[in-house]
Amino acid sequence: MSTPLHAVSAAPVGDFALRCSGLQRYLGQGDGRVHVLKGVSFEARRGQVYAIVGPSGCGKSTLLYLLGLLDQPDGGDIEINGQRMSNSDDFARTAARGAHIGFVFQFHFLMLEFTALENVMMPMRKLGRLTAPEMEARARMLLDAVGLGAKTHRLGTQLSGGEQQRVAVARALANQPSIILADEPTGNLDVKNSTLVFDLLTRLAKDNGQAVILVTHNPEIAQRCDVTRPMRDGLFV
């Protein structure tokens, strides 16, 4: 039994999956304290792919982690599907991450002791919307979609870098989040795999009406996105 990609989608609220305004973030302490984000505002529509580009240290990843509720801003607002999250507690932010946000990190970040199938099932297990057979069917379908249908039972250690990143993409899509955040998703891959992963991410996201926000240094990848937002010194330029 296969589950459609949109089967577990949360109800969309308006056109924007994500909005933030006036985001401030300081990192470090004492003399080393740096004003990384200086009032950043940003919006992401469903079905659109956004690239945030800029030199190292300009605040791209910091912004991404704030948008992904992995970090808390020192000022400003974040709305996920119309729900204000900037002042919410850890419990609410964690729940929102599980239901609305999928992450793809640069270094794959698979749980290497688990199989590809188990890695993809992990977010679904926590969300608990599907039964065990439904979770497995959906995980298989997602791995099929990323071209790894034949390698579902391989451990993370038995997959190449490109394959691991494709599993990470499948995992990010597991709970049918409305927002996909990708931090240099192709940064650690060769050209062929970079193209493969990017195409996959954008195709699946567009098919399912998800907003994709990716941070990249790769100009070719950025060029292929719907919107490119360059950053410098903690601000969009």
Binding site: Y65, L70, T94, K126
Partner: protein, 396 residues
């Protein structure tokens, strides 16, 4: 993780072994004494002193004030007391004993001793004397002849006596000759070197005590309830009743101290196990920070992360408890085969081991408490890690 597991196995296993050996010796000692001197003794009659005063002029209402208890030595009416004692449900048997200090002579030498006058048919129910006979003739001759005696192994050796030889018992200048009907060995040296059992009627004649008894020896179906029974009997019979727990309290406290001291020693192993677990989990937290970040990014809560680490500790603990339990049981069995001749407080040729489910419960509970407390710190630390700090590489 293997180190933590090994320490847990050792901690649980050795806890069981030490408790099984110390309680083994204690149980054997108690069993020996119960089999020799019974669960209780009724000794002296209580003589209450009474101070009365009239309250509000009423001669019917008096305040009775106990100034202390005085005792009249011995049991004056043993038969009446025995009949009453037999009506207690927990009583298995009661036997009147008349005791007196004597001198015992053989053709070889003279030793000090104590005569215990008993009625064999009563005494069989309150002691294991019959099973302690080491000579093949058994108790047959003692039963048949009033002029026969049962002599302890140590005394018999000192006097160089064998069965059917004569002894002369001297008390207050009067001497009587008895035939050694059998030799017994309780294993308690103090008993085996002094006691001579003779028929109660013969003892009355010898010790010139035509009535009464020095004490009544009682055996119980459930010796553990001796304290409660003794208190009850003392109230009913107005005689001093000493349960075995009170009679042997010095030795019992020694065993208890030994048990506690060995438990403390072995708890150190469990402490090492918990430190190893702390160390292992702390290392795992460091190694798995990225996994923690992934899980947190997927929506796993802090308590989920705590649970994952506590589960790891629980799995190690469960394996450690099972393997440690088997290890403890196996070592205890092995220890029970170790030769250890003891012939003082009691007699044994081997280490005595008494495995009880309670030892397993104690060992596992100690391990669970210590290891889980030790695991809680790294587990909570893992849960406190901020996913943003981890992916940024600034997690502390």
């Amino acid at each position: 993780m293997l180190m933590s597991l090994s320490c847990t196995v050792l901690g649980v296993g050795l806890f069981i072994v030490t408790q099984a050996t110390t309680s083994g010796f204690e149980e054997f000692f108690v069993k020996t004494l119960l089999g020799t001197d019974g669960a209780m003794r009724i000794e002296d009659r209580i003589q209450d002193t009474l101070r009365s005063m009239e309250v509000a002029g009423s001669p019917d209402f008096q305040i009775r004030q106990r100034e202390g208890v005085k005792y009249i030595e011995g049991v004056e009416e043993p038969q009446i007391i025995m009949d009453t004692v037999r009506s207690f449900a927990n009583v298995r048997g009661v036997s009147a004993v008349l005791r007196g200090n004597v001198q015992v002579s053989s053709s070889f030498k003279t030793e000090d001793g104590q005569v215990f006058g008993i009625k064999l048919e009563d005494h069989r129910f309150v002691s294991e004397l019959e099973r302690k006979i080491t000579t093949p003739e058994g108790l047959g001759k003692f039963q048949e002849s009033a002029g026969s005696a049962l002599v302890g192994r140590v005394l018999a050796d000192r006097l160089q006596l064998t069965v059917n030889e004569s002894i002369v018992i001297n008390v207050r200048g009067e001497s009587r000759r008895y035939v050694v009907a059998a030799i017994y060995e309780t294993g308690v040296r103090d008993i085996d070197k002094t006691r001579i059992y003779i028929d109660l009627a013969e003892a009355r004649s010898l010790l010139r005590k035509p009535t009464g008894a020095t004490f009544l020896q009682i055996s119980l179906h459930d010796p553990k309830r001796a304290r409660e029974e003794a208190a009850h009997m003392e109230e009913v019979l107005r005689h001093s009743v000493r349960p075995w727990q009170e009679r042997e309290k010095e030795w019992l406290s020694v065993f208890r101290a030994l048990s506690v001291s060995s438990a403390i020693t072995v708890t150190v192993f469990t402490l090492i196990a918990s430190l190893a677990m702390f160390n292992t989990l702390a290392m795992i937290v460091l190694e798995k920070t990225k996994d923690i970040a992934i899980l947190r990014s997927m929506g796993y809560e802090r308590r989920d992360i705590t649970r994952i680490f506590l589960w790891q500790a629980a799995i190690v603990l469960a394996i450690g408890a099972i393997v440690g339990g088997i290890f403890g049981a196996a070592v205890s069995w092995g220890v029970s085969l170790v030769p250890l001749p003891i012939n003082t407080l009691f007699k044994t040729e081997h280490f005595i081991v008494a495995l009880s489910p309670w030892h397993f419960v104690q060992a596992i509970t100690t391990a669970v408490v210590m290891v889980m407390i030790a695991s809680l710190v790294p587990a909570r630390r893992a849960a406190r890690l901020e996913p943003g700090d981890i992916v940024r590489g600034t997690a502390q």
